[in-house]
């Protein structure tokens, strides 16, 4: 393969990648609906990160595997605010008890509420198409 051909292919790939990346960073229609965090939820997200919660838990199936996916824990029947507070404060056999203040627990709960609003993570809410692709319930 000649050098000029190699460089041409490389340039096309790099330019396409750069354009795609910038488009993703700036696309306001990237998301199906607004998933912007409130100030309290943002602070809750920082608490989530500082305690490395993602090492055990997932959002949309992304994260650790030791604990359950928490994307929709806020709206799950028999769970929600009270359940979140008790779990954070007391832990379980596997999960340590995080001795957080009431304000911190409220912020984490607000973060989980905002995550819940972004959509459904349950794989049962997807439908496969003939092409092997999938559609979300809220896309149909």
């Amino acid at each position: 393969m000649r050098f000029v051909v190699k460089i041409s292919i490389l340039l096309v790939l790099v330019c396409s990648f750069a354009m795609y990346s910038v488009h993703l960073y700036t696309d306001t229609k990237l998301l199906k609906k607004s998933t912007r965090l409130t100030d309290a939820a943002f602070e809750g997200k920082m608490i989530w990160q500082q305690n490395n919660c993602q090492s055990c838990h997932q959002f949309y199936g992304l994260g650790g595997y030791l604990g359950p996916d928490l994307t929709n824990v806020y709206s799950t029947k028999d769970k929600g605010t009270g359940y979140i507070g008790i779990m954070v404060q007391n832990g379980s056999i596997t999960m340590p008890a995080y001795k957080m203040s009431k304000t911190e627990i409220e912020k984490v709960t607000e973060f989980l509420r905002c995550m819940d609003e972004t959509g459904k993570a349950d794989p049962r809410t997807f439908k496969a198409t003939e092409t092997g692709n999938i559609t979300r319930e809220d896309e149909q």
Binding site: S16, F17, L24, Y60, R124, F126, G132
Partner: protein
């Protein structure tokens, strides 16, 4: 012997440290796996939220440091001077200090809390600075080389893309990303997907380089088909990352582009099958056997993992496997079965070439067999757990998460036992190679050229 290269030891320094990280990988991984059997294990002393980052960071830096060591080693065939030596040592020193700080922060429960880069963001600058030195030294060394083989392109791609994805990974510190939960996850997994692709470029480039030394065939690495495969790999590195986030509520074009691009990897898969016999025919070089054995083993795992990756890249299948241990099996299969085996092959070759070490071949061969069997058992346990969890996820009357995990106990026992097998085998191989490096220095048996001396023997 090249006098200019005798003072250059950064390559072996990187490899030796990488091997220590590899021992850390299997120790932390084994400890973490106990949590699946005894949930309260060490909970109040070394929690899972600490063990996982210790394990993951060890994996990432084992791969990056061993790959860097291999590329630095290749510099010996082109040009080594004081500047290169200084840049390489600066890279090593910055990383070493950063790694000590990162591990200390994990032990103290201080995290950044992001996948792959779980340390506080303040250490990221050190990692980027060290890598920048690597890029500068690479450009200085290889700019004088007139005709680049495909692995030179792959290495440069890996180094540049790593730097880009690393910066991209830290876009979350800016409000336009971190204030939007789904955009943050989209960009995080865009960069994570490409990050893995970038270190794969480094590792597969080293595999190409090693195969060239083993076979003595310099044409393959310069052929049109090799470059076509390289560009296909690069195309996938840049655009197939979306298969990590099919279930995320982003725009549907992200899913469609990734699905279409991922399917082009069938070309690579079919080519591997087509070339299978040809690759195995190179085995008739007794002087090179151990590194060939490592590479040959990795070929089997490449085929298995690529097939698994292709299936997981089909969205209709992905909704069953996503978020399950099938993904873990794929991650383990690629990092241990492919990256680790190739990098151990490179380390063993440098050991043999640099130190004229041949006595340890039977030992290495034996432990390689144990490693392959243990990995096979581990992947089997993870795949079974993953499939069962996938079925559970789709069950309209699914029970609780805890009940499901309890039901997987027999498979977690198999996972733990195979993990112990991996721990023993990987640690034994690492110790044999490290011992040879140390003996090489204490006996002052340093011919200087690793791969070069091999070529003479071959």
């Amino acid at each position: 012997m090249n006098n200019k290269s005798t003072f250059f030891f950064a390559d072996r320094l990187f490899l030796a440290t990488a091997l220590l990280m590899l021992i850390g990988v299997v120790i932390y991984g084994s400890l973490a796996s106990v949590y699946y059997l005894a949930p309260g294990f060490l909970k109040n002393y070394l929690g899972f939220s600490q063990l996982r980052p210790l394990h993951v960071t060890s994996v990432v830096f084992w791969i990056l440091m061993a790959a860097s060591g291999g590329v630095y080693h290749s510099f010996r065939e082109v040009k080594i001077n004081r500047l290169i030596h200084t840049l390489a040592l600066a890279h090593y020193t910055i990383w070493f200090v950063a790694l000590v700080a990162i591990f200390m922060s994990y032990y103290n429960g201080i995290f950044g809390g992001r996948e792959y880069w779980e340390f506080p963001p303040k250490y990221a600058g050190f990692i980027a600075a060290g890598w920048f030195f690597f890029l500068v030294s690479y450009l200085i060394v290889y700019r004088s080389l007139k005709q680049w083989s495909v692995y030179h392109w792959m290495w440069l791609t890996g180094i540049v893309c790593f730097l880009f994805t690393f910066f991209e990974n830290y876009l979350w510190i800016f409000p336009f990303v971190n204030r939007d939960a789904v955009k943050d996850l989209t960009i995080q997994w865009k960069s994570n997907g490409s990050l893995v692709g970038s270190w794969n470029q480094l590792v597969y480039g080293l595999a190409f380089y090693l195969m060239e030394k083993i076979s003595g065939d310099k044409q393959t690495a310069r052929s049109g088909i090799s470059f076509a495969m390289y560009f296909l790999g690069l195309f996938n590195l840049m655009f197939n990352w979306g298969h990590h986030i099919y279930t995320l509520p982003t725009a549907s074009y992200v899913r469609i582009i990734s699905y279409a691009v991922s399917m082009t990897e069938w070309i690579i898969f079919l080519r591997i099958i087509f070339l299978w016999k040809k690759t195995n025919a190179v085995a008739g070089k007794p002087a090179m056997r151990i590194s060939f054995d490592f590479l040959n083993s990795s070929d089997h795992w490449i085929l298995l993992n690529l097939f698994l990756a292709l299936l997981m890249s089909i969205p209709a299948i992905n909704i069953y496997t996503h978020g399950t241990h099938v993904t873990v099996a794929h991650a383990m299969g690629t990092t241990i079965g492919i990256n680790t085996l190739i990098l151990l092959g490179v380390s063993a070759e440098i050991m043999k070439g640099s130190c004229n070490e041949t006595n340890s071949y039977p030992v290495l061969k034996r432990w390689l067999t144990v490693m392959n069997i243990s990995l096979g058992a581990m992947l089997l346990s993870l795949l079974v757990v993953g499939v069962l969890k996938g079925v559970w996820q789709m069950n309209p009357n699914q029970g609780s998460f805890q009940q499901m995990m309890l039901g997987f106990r027999p498979y977690f026992i198999l996972m733990f036992c195979s993990g112990i097998g991996l721990l023993v085998a990987v640690a034994a191989i690492s110790v044999v190679i490290l011992r040879s490096f140390i003996l090489c220095y204490t006996r002052k048996k340093m011919p200087g050229y690793g791969f070069g001396s091999l070529m003479k023997e071959g």
